[in-house]
């Protein structure tokens, strides 16, 4: 029983990380029709910013962690907005060029991070309370998992409130349906694009900070590795749907964790989680080609 609880909560935690990454991707695609392969860079930037801050600031208290989170969010938002303004905006409606440009940025900035920080994973001094465990139904659950679950839930709630309760959210929801008509109502949709990119950058950067605590290390390939799963989550959930991404992130995280564990125990096949995720993707695409929230 405790194993199942531990696997379940760990899977939910992983799902939280995937959702932080996928929510921005999904919004970006829904509004701008941009497949942003540079999205992983925002996570990596957040992860390294947090690592730099906690490595250089003294003490171990919550202040240091809060500063690290804040710094990472600012850097994530700034890089995302800069990518949108300088790279995506000049290439609107030119989808192939956008994909090529974002792939180029991902490769270039990934190489830059590797050049500056090295290719090897570096340990991240996370706060002691995050390294501890909490007993849940007899299972000793690492607090980092609980934090990522809570962060995913908070971001889901915040995005939902933003989309439902604010005028900018209304513009984004309308823009996902018909971007042209939003402009024809006298709204500067470009500003909404930049805002959505920045929000995606914030969520991904938060994912980067929490991935430091989740994995205990930071490395230049983290964003790229997470991006693959985030794309899977976005496709399974339905492009442009935040709720769909949340459901898909939980599904992918849980299935991956359980498959990894039982694949190792029963068949000595530790990578069975990745296989199970791919099978889930194939099944969803066969049954609901537009994703769980996108209909048949």
């Amino acid at each position: 029983m405790s194993t199942i609880v531990l696997l379940g909560i760990t899977g939910l935690g992983l799902g939280g990380l995937y959702f932080l990454m996928a929510s921005g991707l999904s919004l970006t695609y829904g509004l701008l029709r941009v497949l942003n392969f540079a999205h992983g860079v925002f996570l990596t930037a957040g992860a390294y910013t947090a690592w730099l801050i906690v490595s250089r600031m003294g003490g171990t208290g919550p202040t240091r962690f809060a500063v690290a989170v804040l710094g990472a969010l600012v850097v994530g938002a700034a890089i995302a907005a800069a990518v949108e303004v300088t790279l995506i905006r000049p290439l609107y409606r030119r989808h192939i060029e956008q994909v090529l440009a974002t792939v180029g940025v991902a490769l270039a900035l990934g190489a830059l991070a590797q050049g500056i920080f090295g290719a090897d994973p570096r340990p991240v001094p996370v706060p002691p309370w995050m390294q501890g465990v909490t007993s849940v139904l007899g299972a000793a659950v690492p607090n980092s998992r609980l934090v990522t679950i809570a962060a995913g839930a908070v971001v889901l709630g915040a995005l939902g409130a933003f989309l439902r309760l604010t005028r900018w959210g209304l513009i984004v929801r309308a823009g996902v349906e018909n971007r042209e008509m939003v402009q024809a109502l006298g709204i500067d949709v470009q500003r909404a694009f930049t805002l959505v990119f920045a929000l995606g950058g914030v969520a991904a950067a938060l994912g980067g900070v929490l991935s430091d605590g989740y994995f205990g290390t930071v490395d230049p390939a983290r964003g790229t590795a997470m991006l693959i799963y985030a794309f899977v989550v976005v496709v399974i959930g339905g492009l442009g749907s935040i709720a769909g991404s949340a459901i898909a992130a939980v599904l992918v995280g849980l299935i991956q964790q359980f498959a990894n564990y039982y694949g190792s125990v029963w068949w000595s096949f530790p990578s069975s989680g990745d296989l199970a995720v791919v099978l889930l993707l194939v099944a969803v695409l066969l049954v609901r080609p537009r994703g769980l929230a996108g209909g048949v």
């Binding site: 005028r167 209304l170 513009i171 929801r173 309308a174 349906e177 018909n178 042209e180 008509m181 939003v182 402009q183 024809a184 109502l185 006298g186 709204i187 500067d188 949709v189």
Partner: protein, 236 residues
């Protein structure tokens, strides 16, 4: 005659097809100007080109001011309201959200809108995608009426609607045109006949007539040549 909106030598090339080949549009201030033409003549593209919704060459002036380089949202902010063909309501948003999105001033004219369309008030929380075609048309027109406009570009407002609803829409447009200039694309010549004072006729992407509406429809041979329809005599 003062020109409120002028578009000169509009050219639009879409997917390799030269859709507009030098269209000229002059809309005088006040009343309804009908933009007529056969299917595929370029009427909808002309409205979209004026608003910058498609890449275009040519000049556009609003009230004598050159707005050719203005973005779509800036043109709308300058007072060009748009009611698109097919309504283009945001299906996933409620009626109230559709209207809220269209607000451009601190004091949107909800009183006026709900006076004209009382059913929209009753259906405020209903998703626009679940409305009938006529109700969606009302939302589309209401969005434009919420704000003070200098001109309304209205594209095929009666298309696909039941005859009873068509009569209502024409009635509303007639009332609206007493306050704001309307450039109306209308395939239903009988509907346009009750509204328009001026006509601009397009044929194969060029302007072939600009002048009085009555003069145009009075020449049956010309109507048949450019619109491909035989016009029934006007009612009493």
């Amino acid at each position: 005659m003062t020109a409120l909106l002028e578009a000169q030598d509009l050219h639009v090339v879409l997917a390799g097809s030269h859709i507009l080949r030098g269209v000229d549009v002059v809309v005088p201030e006040g009343g309804v100007t009908a933009l007529l033409g056969r299917n595929g003549a370029g009427k909808t593209t002309t409205l979209r080109a004026i608003l910058g919704l498609v890449p275009r060459a040519g000049r556009v002036r609003l009230g004598g001011r050159d707005v050719s380089r203005a973005s779509t949202h800036a043109m709308v902010q300058a007072g060009i309201g748009y009611v698109p063909e097919g309504r283009d309501v945001f299906a996933g948003l409620t009626v109230a959200e559709n209207l809220r999105l269209a607000e451009r001033t601190a004091h949107p004219r909800y009183d006026q809108v709900y006076e004209i369309f009382p059913e929209l008030s009753a259906r405020a929380s209903q998703r626009a995608g679940t409305l009938s075609g006529g109700q969606q048309q009302m939302v589309a027109i209401a969005r434009a009426l919420l704000n003070p406009n200098r001109i309304l570009l209205v594209d095929e407002p009666t298309k696909g609607l039941a005859p009873r609803v068509v009569a209502r829409v024409i009635e509303i447009l007639a009332a609206v045109s007493r306050e704001v200039t309307v450039l109306l694309v209308e395939q239903n010549l009988a509907a346009a006949r009750g509204l328009a004072r001026h006509a601009i006729v397009l044929d194969q992407g060029t302007t072939v007539y600009a002048g009085g509406f009555a003069e145009f429809v009075g020449d049956r041979e010309r109507v048949h040549r450019h619109l491909g329809v035989a016009l029934a005599p006007a009612g009493p």
